[in-house]
Amino acid sequence: MSACSLEHLPQRQRATVAAIDWDRLAVPEARRLRELGFDEGVGVEVLHRASLGKGPIACRIGRMTVALRRAVAGRIQVALIA
């Protein structure tokens, strides 16, 4: 099992949230992230990337599809599921 950040998780590669760097997120951002279901151990998968450069990414978290910016995705460490 290897790890990387959600930002660099390959598309359609199933993974689980390993750790979230809550302290480096703005307070409302962290709150919204929790409300959308981000939590250690939850299944996550990158579905789409907006543009080849720096656009936001769409990911599946639990049963929900959520759009977030790469900077936030970079604070979320994931563990790949083989």
Binding site: P28, L36, A50, G55, R69
Partner: protein, 619 residues
């Protein structure tokens, strides 16, 4: 205040709450406002299974009882009995998306902890089944300790059962007092979330992963290249349709108005009352009402885009571009709504979490070409821009109209860029939003949305605009000009306009325009009504339909003046409603005054530059 029992509909965003509200109340809806905030209060009456009438109120969607936006605050305050002007609900209908239980049950657990009687609507159960998810409502009901009714709001499935359970819940022995000390109210989100996930797993009978339609659609809609092209094409079709589909209905309205004016002329003798009705009301209000078809078409597109779930995809695609000027993709939705009208656009900014981001969006929203500008643009372009073809399918008139739209967008982006570096400076805002499943919009829901927009517009035409037009008619009709002098210059309105003319003459505006600017302050489209009324008074002998307003303008305005006038309307914040809604949304006069100031300054400068450039070019 009505003393009927109150039932509140509450749930996460995208749980299908509004569809359920429509299914329960049909067209018997009332839209009001909560005192002190601009959050709309949607309510309706319905009869329970035992025949008792209750009032149903649709609360704004929220993720938790810890509010992150003004909308969510209202939801929390209503269900805890803290909202001014609202009684504590007698029961709650908690709406959850069957396909998204893990997340939606967390908010349900918080709501259950309040101790009010609750019925859970397990909504969109059909979509969950299509996704290969089989749920056991009985298990869910046991785990939560309240009735759980599977529903498909858009197909009215489960509505009768829901009403039956509500009969038991409302005023039944189960009614409890608020328990603000319940530990679940204060448990942190993560703990609640874990409990919610456990319950969701328990209630799930089986789960077969299927290749979802949703994913396939998103593969196209969010594709880095195809996605933006598709979005642009959609916007193009939308704006094309606004013009091409509206031609016929506009013709019918014009014919109807002309017949009405002729009818009045046949019945009433020439005089004060006839002039007031024909020259004042029919000419003025009629000039505005003909734009109802265009406004409704634009709103229909926006409602469909929202109901289908595509709007969030558009926000996703736009986020990168919006980030360049310091905004987020979320701002795209209010800005697109502002093409119909800045008022709902500014109200839609409430979903933006970041304060600075939200304020910037509010300040630039009036630059989007709203439908009230259409009457002005259409009249001036139709009258003074030659209808030459530049290439097959591309006419000069259409190009100018397109240019005005683009100009509004460019100006808004530039304004955002400057504002974000000066008055609304702050850390760049985030972009995080749930992407709901695609859904076929239901015709009935779109119809209800359009109906409420149409009534708002017609009410405005019947009140604000009718009043300004009548006042203007009176000011323009008295005192009677002696022969040889123009009524529009001799009258009171004419003299006021002569005062304004001094200020606007340097930017190429004539006496007619000065006269139109004042009533246009109430609403932009009143400018057209004002010009129509004034010309109608100046030439009382002509039949209203005989000489078109556009033809009257031709002889009196130069092209340079017309262009300057168009440029003025791109920027000028001439809309009392927008200023009022900005004051309410920003809680004070500071920002609306700033908005009015910067936009008038921009309007004056840009109109001036346009006029002098056009004059220099010999137009």
């Amino acid at each position: 205040m009505s003393t009927l029992p109150l039932v509140a509909l509450v749930g996460n965003p995208n749980a299908g709450k509004s569809a359920l509200f429509n299914a329960l109340t049909g067209a018997r809806q009332k839209v009001g406002n909560y005192p002190g905030v601009t959050v709309e209060r949607h309510s309706g009456r319905l009869a329970l299974a035992d025949g008792r009438p209750v009032e149903l109120v649709d609360l704004p969607g929220a993720y938790s009882l810890e509010p992150g936006s003004p909308d969510e605050r209202v939801t929390r305050d209503v269900v805890t009995g803290a909202q001014a002007g609202e009684r504590l609900p007698d029961a709650l209908v908690v709406v959850v998306d069957a396909a998204n239980l893990d997340n939606h049950l967390r908010f349900t657990l918080q709501l259950l902890a309040l101790g009010l009687p609750v019925v859970v609507a397990l909504n969109m159960i059909d979509l969950a089944e299509r996704d290969g998810l089989v749920l056991d409502p009985a298990v869910l009901s046991r785990e939560l300790g309240v009735p759980v009714i599977p529903t498909v709001a858009v197909r009215r499935r489960g509505i009768d059962l829901l009403l039956e359970e509500l009969s038991t819940a409302v005023g039944g022995a189960t009614a409890m007092k608020l328990r603000p000390s319940d530990p679940a109210l204060h448990e942190d989100i993560v703990t609640l979330q874990r409990r919610a996930r456990r319950i969701a797993t328990a209630a799930t009978v089986s789960e077969t992963p299927t290749r979802r339609w949703n994913h396939l659609l998103d593969t196209v809609a969010l594709h880095p290249v195809v996605g933006p092209v598709l979005l642009l094409a959609l916007l193009f079709v939308m704006f094309q349709s606004v013009f091409s589909w509206s031609e016929a209905p506009i013709g019918w309205i014009e014919t109807g108005l002309a017949a009405l004016a002729d009818g009045i002329k046949d019945v009433l003798p020439d005089g004060f009352l006839r002039s007031l009705l024909v020259d004042g009301l029919i000419a003025g209000v009629g000039a505005v009402i003909v734009f109802l078809p265009q406004i409704l078409i634009l709103f229909a597109f926006i409602l469909v885009l929202e109901a289908s779930g595509y709007m969030v995809r558009a926000a996703f695609l736009m986020d990168r571009l919006m980030a360049q000027v310091g905004l987020s993709g979320r701002a795209f939705i209010p800005l697109l709504s502002s093409f119909a009208c800045a008022v709902p656009g500014i109200m839609a900014t409430r979903t933006i979490d970041d304060e600075k981001d939200r304020l910037t969006t509010i300040l630039i929203a009036p630059l989007m070409t709203c439908s009230a500008r259409l009457p002005v643009y259409t009249l001036i372009i139709g009258a003074l821009i030659p209808n030459t073809r530049l290439a097959p399918l591309i006419g000069l008139q259409g190009l100018v109209m397109f240019g005005l739209y683009v100009l509004g967008i460019v100006a808004a982006f530039l304004a955002a860029l400057v504002l974000r570096r000066t008055v609304t400076k702050g850390a760049s805002s985030g972009f995080m939003m749930e992407m709901p499943k695609y859904q076929w919009p239901r015709l009935g829901d779109i119809g209800i949305g359009l109906w409420s927009r149409a009534t708002i517009f017609l009410k405005r035409a019947g009140t604000t605009i009718a009043l300004t037009v009548v006042i203007l008619w009176a000011l323009a009709s008295f005192p009677q000009a002696p022969s040889g002098q123009k009524q529009s210059e001799y009258s009171i309105a004419g003299r006021i306009a002569s005062g304004i003319e001094v200020v606007v003459k340097p930017i190429g505006f004539n006496h007619d325009i000065a006269l139109a600017l004042l009533p246009a302050m109430a609403a932009r489209e009143a400018a057209v009504g004002a010009i129509a009324t004034v010309y109608s008074i100046d030439n009382p002998d002509e039949d209203a339909g005989e000489v078109r307003l556009a033809d009257r303008l031709k002889g009196r305005w130069s092209l340079a003046t017309a262009l300057a006038f168009l440029m003025w309307f791109v920027f000028a914040p001439q809309c009392i409603s927008t200023i009022a809604v900005t004051r309410r949304e920003t809680n004070g006069w500071k920002w609306p005054l700033f908005m009015v100031g910067y936009l008038f300054a921009a309007a004056y400068i840009m109109a001036g530059i346009t006029y002098w450039l056009a004059v220099a070019a010999g137009l």
